[in-house]
Amino acid sequence: MSTLDRFEIHEHDVIVIGAGGAGLRAAIEASTNGASVGLVCKSLLGKAHTVMAEGGIAAAVANVDKQDDWQVHFKDTMKGGKFLNNWRMAQLHAQEAPERVLELERWGALFDRTNDGTILQRPFGGHTYKRLCHVGDRTGLEMIRTLQDKGVHMGIDVYMECTITKLLKDDGKISGAFGYWRENGKFVIFKAKSIILATGGVGKAYKVTSNSWEYTADGQILAYDAGAELIDTEFIQFHPTGMIWPPGVIGILVTEAVRGEGGVLKNKDGFRFMEKYDPERMELSTRDVVARSIYLENKDGRGSPHGGAFLDISHKGADYIKKKLPSMYHQFKELADVDITTGPMEVGPTCHYSMGGVKVEADTTATSIPGLFAAGEVAGGMHGANRLGGNSLSDLLVFGRRAGLHASEYAKKNSSKLKLDENEMKLAEKEMISFFERDEGENPYSVHTDLQELMQNKVGIFRIEEDLKYAIEQLKILKERAKKTKIEGSRMYNPGWHMAYDLQNMIIYSEAIAKCALQRKESRGAHSRIDYPNTDPEHGKWNSIVKKSNDGSLVIEKSPLPEMPKELQDLLKEKDLVKK
């Protein structure tokens, strides 16, 4: 019997891995373009991390501040990303975001309204104008539900609770993917002419994180293993405001919309400390600056009792808060016994987003492997050294659409029969089963706990050479430990087994973070070095590149920034047009 007969096989033109905002948008576009689309996701449909996005979608539709346009949005994004962004991605993003938002409304999304009946926009950190189209503080939910309901009526086949562990290639081109059903542990093969990665970030490698179990760098490592390059992995965004007390809720996100709606940050003495760090933008400074400020206040002993700061919105009045920030109100009321309409919240930085990821071509989202595309958080380059709040949802839509379009075009052009390599599949199967075959070994959860501790303490907000070197050494040990974990029970819905596989990805990506962080001897955006506290213009001329060498080890390089056209350079040189 051939290997192929043993496996369940599904065939599509395009397979999308990940069903968050980017994955769904990509699937819809590919389907519209006539491709047969399969959407594979680790969770149930509609549960992806996009639902956690709260504040809004940044798009210069200029309903509230009429002066806004894509140029200003582009400039804000480049400034926020400390000019390390891929300029073309930032340009496309700023230009196309308004259209993508309006399109959502055409599909049934209901954003909050202005008095004129158009989409309401709120201010956010780093954005010159009021730019975030929002629905209270549950914008992500609105977006994913709209896309989900649009998608299910388009004939997209959704494969829920399925994890992809390997990309399959035929003669260097993508030919399919190998994975397992979480439900019963059986293996499955997807045959496809092109594959879109939309798997999100890597937050679960950190101890204090707003990310869920799914965020384990799957897509990044699938691409890396297949030979694609990763970019700017050292930039991990710590959201300045996560919950820090009680222990059960540590890391849960407190939306930036609290600050957007007028919330102020104070230290234990009641001093509004952002006056000191960014007197101009105050609380609406970029996330890297606010997160560092909270950290520094604590270092000097002026933090809140549980090591954070106080965020106060109570001056806005109970009705306004309940209308504009309903889920924040309930979240604090129910999980922390704090009434935010009468008192402050205690907040601190939490790992939130990975700016780096798979290196893609800006216009097409194509990776260096023919047939492999990537969009959303899994792709790198768009946000540079630091992402502005609200730019992620628009990123998902703009590049999700582009990925769907170009992947389906690619599939049309490459219609020749692709072969699946039996050996590749056998290896992938063997790797997954090996966890059950050992007589003894560690619990994968304890390795994960150690990884989180290591990354949090040594490769966290502030980094220093000796810590990074130590972390790189430790990661080698963790990698070996992770390979030798032992799984109890059967392959039926076994979270321990799932963790054992996810752990491998997290450790490789963690190595990429640590190595690139060591290479970047400056502080820029989300990457802060204690030993190199200043931004060095020389380091602003290159991006970090990570790839797998022929011997299987991880190597890093520097790659010069792509040349920006003159008109955009001039745009960035212009003095700020307006201030609020």
Binding site: L44, M160, E161, W181, E183
Partner: protein, 247 residues
């Protein structure tokens, strides 16, 4: 997840089976007793056919008073079917008696045991859909009840206030609130629309919606009060209670 449902026929659980540890039976029991006591009293009072008037007061069970030769029973039965129907088809009372009497379900997450269920899709419960017509009937009766309230302040051509006047006023006010917060009324006043061109209509709809949140409260207090109003008139008429004149 596989798309095919491989479901086996469910085991029918015995009535009342649950993992709930709280006193889930308490609420339906209170409703059953409260509602039952009212129905018992109202039926008895309606059958009496006497002691429904005292001075300027008329018991709400008998209003409007229709005395005709061909009707041999208590005059209450000529009109009582309207408020009875209004309450029986009321969206709130339906919940209460489906739970307390039909045990369908007795409480959330508590097993009903084995039985056939057609909900409100078949006879007789399909007639619940006519709630709005009972609302219409009840509104007509309300006009008469307000007339009775005016009469209750008229003691032989002179304005006066007795405790009974206030009881009837309170009763009619509560019944009005109960009717105004009705789900069907909320629908008819604006709930059927998808967008409001007229600001006044929207404001009215919002007010009714706001009151509708407390429909259960108005349902219970008005039920209690209407029973009490009848009892008050009845006991005064029987000479057991004395109506105190305030003015």
């Amino acid at each position: 997840m596989s798309a095919i449902l491989t479901e086996k026929p469910k085991e029918k659980e015995s009535f009342g089976k649950t993992q709930r540890k709280d006193l889930w039976w308490f609420e339906p029991l209170v409703y059953a007793v409260g509602f039952g006591a009212f129905i018992f009293y109202a039926t008895w009072a309606a059958f009496q056919g006497k002691h429904y008037e005292y001075g300027p007061y008329l018991s709400p069970f008998y209003s409007p008073l229709i005395v005709v030769d061909w009707w041999k029973f208590s005059p209450a039965f000529l009109i009582l079917w309207i408020p009875a129907g209004f309450r029986m088809t009321c969206y709130y009372y339906r919940k209460a008696y489906y739970r307390s009497y039909f045990m369908d379900p007795p409480a959330c997450g508590v097993s009903e045991g084995c039985k056939k269920y057609t909900g409100e899709t078949a006879f007789p419960l399909i007639f619940q859909n006519l709630h709005r017509y009972f609302l219409l009937g009840a509104s007509v009766l309300l006009c008469f009840l307000w007339g009775d309230v005016i009469k209750a302040f008229n003691f032989n051509g002179h304005f006066g206030v007795g405790v009974g006047s206030l009881v009837l006023l309170a009763n009619t006010f509560l019944l009005t609130m109960y009717s105004l917060t009705c789900h069907s009324f909320r629908h008819l006043i604006g709930g059927f629309k998808d967008s409001f061109k007229c600001g006044y209509q929207y404001n009215l709809y919002e007010k009714i919606s706001c009151g509708n949140k407390h429909h259960m409260f108005w349902a219970w207090v008005s039920l209690f009060m209407v029973g009490f109003a009848d009892l008050y008139v009845r006991l005064c008429s029987m000479g057991i209670w004395t109506d105190v004149r305030l003015i």
